[in-house]
């Protein structure tokens, strides 16, 4: 099937089109259609994975449609091993996300519509082999977020303080509109940087093309590379939550509705990291090698600083959001190592963190929906009334802190091993420390919320997981464990891609010659 990738990518968008035709009053139909779209895309992803020849590696399932040939723009879809892994992640998250949003009551038609459009964009990014199309899908994936958070999000109070406290009132800091606007603007500033980098690559590729394969084969002048790489790094890095451009993430994730948080933290942030890896590291490797120590240093700051910030939060969603900042630091750290272990770990961490944070947000959403509070100090003993939630939450915590047997461990271990083996082995130290701080804050939260005497007040009759709500915990939870025990499932794909791209890096050959 030659258009499998296109179908996988378009299925959610097509479902969105179908949604347009369904009256908003037939609510079940809306949901079922959305689910069908999501499931088709997941099935497509799985099919892609089965078709992909891991031994062969490289780009497979190529599908090209010329779009604007005069400018060298083609709709060129193909998938590499990284792409396969991330496609699977996206499929799983969207299916569970749709199921987790079953109870969205407000303007549900628009909600599902936007959600599906967004997901198509995400798929598109992972399979685009044309820089321009890549960017196009990237924007599609980023923008619906504005409405999704702005309309369906939640607001809370953030007291003003500090030297910039005077700006609080004007922006209504803490409101969902603020979160949505900040997120969108920061990410689009990032896109602006990407756009400029794209132009630079395009104009310096002798052929004036956006074709990534051609760009890969092009040796760009080092001066160009040195401009492109930081632009790509910070541009995509903003979405990956790179310090100090991460501040959209806590507010955004805290304000977003459940499925959106799941998708955003679970998949969208990966787009950023994927961009840095796929475009920054692969297309401009020489500059990347020069910048890698800086990228790694910042990533290390991310890991530790994100974890510390998370430890100081009192709002459950903020904790999870900051933990994403921290974990994406691990991904960036892996990317910065520029060796196989690090890159494998980075992509594995993308998947692991995606599943883990998806699970987190799904559960937090469940808790919030029932308890109507996210302040952990107000909760307690919830394990008595919602043992399933408690159990899966604990599982997510464990993956978050990198416990062996969960996907988080495999990923973090590879990243740290890659870092230790790389040019700056000291990065592993703050990285591991960050994992320890994670253990502190996740378990403290887990303890406060779920343990303790049975709740007697308004929380006494909270319901446990119901019907469709089972999907997210069950699927994501078991995947965490499966990928934790059997990394080969994914790693074969990821490694195939990493090896392919690494082969092009002269610097890596050098680094590996040093270590036995």
């Amino acid at each position: 099937m030659s258009h499998l990738l296109a179908l996988t990518m378009a299925a959610p968008a097509l479902a969105a089109v179908v949604l347009l035709a369904i009256p908003g009053t037939s609510r079940t139909a809306l949901r079922v259609v959305s689910l069908i779209g999501a499931v088709i895309s997941l099935a497509g992803s799985i099919w892609v994975a089965t078709l992909y020849d891991r031994a062969l590696g490289g780009l497979q399932l190529l599908d090209t449609v010329p779009l604007v040939p005069s400018l060298g723009i083609h709709l060129k879809l193909a998938v590499d091993g990284w792409g396969v892994a991330l496609l699977l992640l996206t499929g799983v998250i969207i299916v569970t996300g749709v199921l987790a949003s079953w109870s969205v009551a407000k303007r549900d038609k628009e909600f599902f519509l936007l959600l599906l459009v967004l997901v198509s964009g995400v798929y598109g990014v992972f399979i685009s082999q044309d820089l321009f199309i890549f960017f196009l899908f990237y924007e599609i994936a980023v923008l619906p977020m504005y409405l999704l958070i702005g309309i369906w999000g939640s607001s809370h109070k953030v007291p003003s303080a500090g030297p910039f406290g005077f700006t609080w009132k004007r922006f209504e800091v803490g409101s969902r509109e603020y979160a949505a606007m900040k997120l969108t603007l920061m990410l689009l500033v990032g896109s602006a940087a990407i756009l400029v980098a794209m132009f630079l690559l395009w104009s310096n590729s002798g052929a004036r093309t956006f074709d990534m394969q051609v760009l890969e084969a092009t040796k760009f002048p080092i001066a160009v590379q040195h401009v492109v790489f930081p632009l790509v790094w910070l541009g995509f890095g903003t979405l990956a939550g790179v310090f100090p451009f991460h501040t959209w993430s806590p507010d955004g994730h805290a304000s977003a509705p459940t499925a959106v948080s799941m998708l955003h933290a679970g998949v969208l942030m990966k787009l950023g990291a994927f961009g840095v890896l796929r475009i920054g590291m692969v297309l401009v490797p020489d500059a990347a090698a020069w910048w890698a120590p800086i990228v790694g240093a910042v990533a290390v700051v991310n890991v530790l600083y994100g974890a510390l910030c998370a430890a100081s939060q009192k709002d459950l969603k903020y904790i999870v959001a900051y933990s994403s900042v921290s974990h994406m630091g691990v991904v960036m750290l892996g990317i910065a190592t520029m060796n196989a272990a690090g890159w494998n770990g980075a992509v594995y961490q993308m998947v692991a963190h995606g599943i883990m944070t998806g699970l987190f947000f799904a559960l937090v959403g469940l808790v919030y929906e029932r308890a109507h509070t996210r302040t952990i100090a107000k909760m307690g003993g919830f394990a008595h009334v919602m043992p399933v939630v408690a159990g899966f939450f604990t599982l997510a915590c464990l993956s978050s802190l990198g416990l062996p047997g969960t996907a988080g461990f495999v990923a973090e271990f590879m990243v740290f091993a890659g870092a230790a083996k790389g040019a700056s082995p000291w990065w592993a130290i703050p990285g591991v420390l960050g994992a320890f701080v994670t253990a502190v804050y996740v378990l403290r939260a887990c303890k406060t919320i779920f343990w303790g005497p049975a709740p007697v007040d308004e929380f006494a009759h909270l319901q446990d997981v119901q019907r469709t709500e089972w999907a997210a915990p069950l699927v994501l939870g078991s995947l965490l464990v499966v990928f934790g025990f059997w990394p080969k499932l994914l790693l074969d794909f990821i490694d195939a891609a990493s090896q392919g791209y690494l082969g092009r890096l002269p610097i890596v050959a050098l680094a590996q010659a040093v270590t036995p």
């Binding site: 910039f164 501040t247 062996p404 047997g405 740290f416 303890k447 343990w451 005497p453």
Partner: protein, 599 residues
């Protein structure tokens, strides 16, 4: 079946049980079936282990099999597998046997729990046994680490089994944090080993410097897991868990994993004398320190907990002395008698519904079998000649002879006295003397409770005689020789018991009780850690949180604010007066002309 298959069966059987229970929630929620599934799993494990033993006795060689786990470029970056040799096989048997006993005991002990909790309890037990077996059979340090963390997890979940109790919740989290803190050492050690040797084998021989780094870092983890000073503080708190759990995890098996690690990684430690020196001292200090604190505990389980710390100190000291086998031997005997003691304590607690020694007294009449078990365990622990503990403790002490410094040796001898002394105190307070009010209603539990006591009492009595065989298995030298140390040790233990009878029979107090109680209640180490946590971690975290919200994010808000303000103030240029508009047209033309002409 081949040894490899048997080993896999032994390892995986509890995992299958755990998985069944996790997936088939009705099974778990019903309670009793869960227990049977778990027991079956343990039984299969034990059976496989015994078959392995039989095969080995029949002359079967070591068995090792690995498969790649994390692959890179078609090459295994990390492997998992099994290794059955003279160290892992005895350990496997000990673990499975003790676990089975404890699980059987638990059926009676946990009988009053609601079915769901009961099921959860046994699920966790199955999970624990699996994790522990992963540690035991691991062929390399990475898998050992994985199992190590997993037992940490089950420990956390089991300590927090009574999660409704805030103290239990706190204790569980604390245990996890303390061990996790130490485990960073393990991870760093692994990374160093990986970078310098490209693998995770303990047989790889890196340079002395690397070995020192690796072992030093590994030892950090040992300090945490085996509750050595100053990371021991989690262990007494861990007694918040159900008593059988304390018996299995926090006395017999899990806490000994640290010792097991050092025994396994002995080739590496052998390259690092510096690390061994540190271990020697840490072990000795812990042995004495914990023994002193055990003297003033009023909670029967806490006495045993400190005793565990102390005994682990012995083992670590032996390892530090370079006598891995001595440590391992003591590990084995200790596993039996400490499990026995804990289960007996559990039986007592079950009978009197209290942990406090003050609520007990005269139980000897009500609980004869328990008392017997307890006495056997105590004597073994105290190192009374003939009991299992005597042989292993003697070996530990002997191994310290002729070291550069005699102080550790002396300390451990002193600790031997203290051990006998506090066990004597415990026995007297709980089982002799007047029958207390709570004790008067006490009665023995059913066979599920007493059976394991009997089963465990046997090795507590006799396992000392297996030393020779064990030594040959791990190619170490062992012979019982009569020297100064065994004699002194016997004297010390008997003296300790005697002193205890003298002091406590009349309800007296140990000398320096006051000081020790102050030390216990003030708990310097605990407070130091708490302070470090509050200031070093939470304080810094709050600072980071503030900076993020109010400085970094503030700056971003400020950027946006400036743009908006800029727009607002620029808007004033739009005066609305037509004259100004016309003038601006002129200015514009003028500027354009100037640009063009002056270009």
């Amino acid at each position: 079946m081949s040894p490899v298959t048997l080993a896999i069966v032994a390892t995986v059987a509890p995992a299958v049980a755990a998985l069944l229970l996790l997936v088939l929630s009705p099974l778990r929620h019903r309670g009793a079936p869960a227990a049977w599934v778990t027991l079956l799993g343990s039984l299969v494990s034990l059976g496989a282990a015994v078959m392995l033993l039989v095969a080995r006795l029949g002359g079967a060689p070591d068995a090792r099999a690995t498969i790649p786990w994390i692959e890179e470029r078609g090459r295994a970056m990390a492997e998992i597998g099994i290794l059955i040799d003279g160290v892992s096989l005895p350990m496997l048997i000990i673990v499975c046997l003790v676990a089975l006993c404890v699980q059987v005991f638990s059926i009676a002990y946990m009988h009053d729990e609601p079915p769901r909790a009961f099921g959860r309890y046994f699920t966790l037990h199955a999970l624990f046994l699996f994790s522990m077996n992963v540690v035991v059979v691991s062929p390399n340090l990475l898998q050992l680490f994985a199992g190590w963390e997993l037992v940490g997890l089950t420990s956390y979940l089991l300590i927090g089994f009574y999660f409704a109790k805030p103290a239990a919740a706190q204790a569980a989290v604390k245990a996890f944090w303390m061990t996790k803190l130490a485990d960073m050492g393990f991870l760093f050690g692994l990374l160093v080993l990986y970078v310098s040797t490209g693998g995770f084998e303990w047989t790889s021989a890196p340079s002395a410097t690397v070995a020192t780094w690796v072992t030093g870092l590994l030892f950090l983890a040992v300090v945490g897991k085996s509750a050595q000073f100053p990371l021991h503080i989690w262990l007494p708190d861990a007694m918040e868990g159900p008593t059988p759990v304390s018996a299995l995890l926090h006395a017999a098996t899990m806490v000994a994993a640290g010792v097991f690690l050092v025994v396994r990684a002995d080739p590496l430690f052998a390259l690092a004398p510096g690390t061994r020196e540190v271990m020697l001292w840490v072990g000795s200090i812990t042995a004495v320190f914990a023994a002193l604190l055990a003297l003033v505990q009023h909670d029967i389980k806490k006495v045993l907990a400190f005793s565990t710390c102390s005994q682990l100190g012995y083992m670590v000291a032996a390892l530090g002395a370079g006598q891995a086998f001595a440590g391992f031997f003591h590990l084995g005997t200790h596993a039996f008698f400490k499990a026995l003691l804990f289960l007996a304590a559990g039986s007592v607690i079950h009978a009197v519904h209290s942990n406090s020694l003050d609520d007990m007294g005269g139980l000897r009449k009500k609980l004869p079998l328990t008392t017997a078990a307890f006495v056997i365990g105590s004597l073994s622990l105290a190192g009374v000649p003939g009991f299992a503990g005597f042989f292993s403790k003697d070996l530990v002490l002997t191994s310290l002879e002729g070291k550069a410094s005699w102080i550790p040796w002396a300390m451990l001898l002193g600790a031997a006295f203290l051990t006998a002394f506090y066990m004597g105190r415990l026995l007297i307070k709980a089982f002799w003397g007047e029958l207390s009010e709570r004790s008067s209603h006490a009665h023995e539990g059913n066979v599920a409770m007493t059976g394991p006591l009997v089963v465990l009492a046997i090795p507590s009595l006799a396992s000392g005689f297996l030393g020779g065989w064990l030594a040959t298995q791990s190619s170490a030298q062992y012979e019982l020789h009569l020297g100064l140390t065994p004699v002194l040790a016997s004297v010390m233990s008997l003296a300790g018991l005697g002193a205890a009878i003298l002091v406590f029979r009349k309800g007296g107090q140990a000398p320096f009780t006051h000081v020790l109680e102050k030390l216990d209640t003030f708990s310097v180490v605990d407070r130091t850690w708490a302070g470090a946590y509050r200031i070093g971690l939470l304080g810094v975290a709050s600072l980071a949180g503030w900076i993020d919200r109010y400085l970094i994010d503030g700056l971003i808000n400020f950027t946006g604010w400036s743009a908006l303000e800029g727009g607002s103030s620029a808007r004033r240029l739009q005066t609305g007066l037509v004259r100004d508009y016309a003038l601006l047209v002129t200015v514009g033309v003028l500027v354009l002309v100037l640009i063009g002409v002056l270009r």
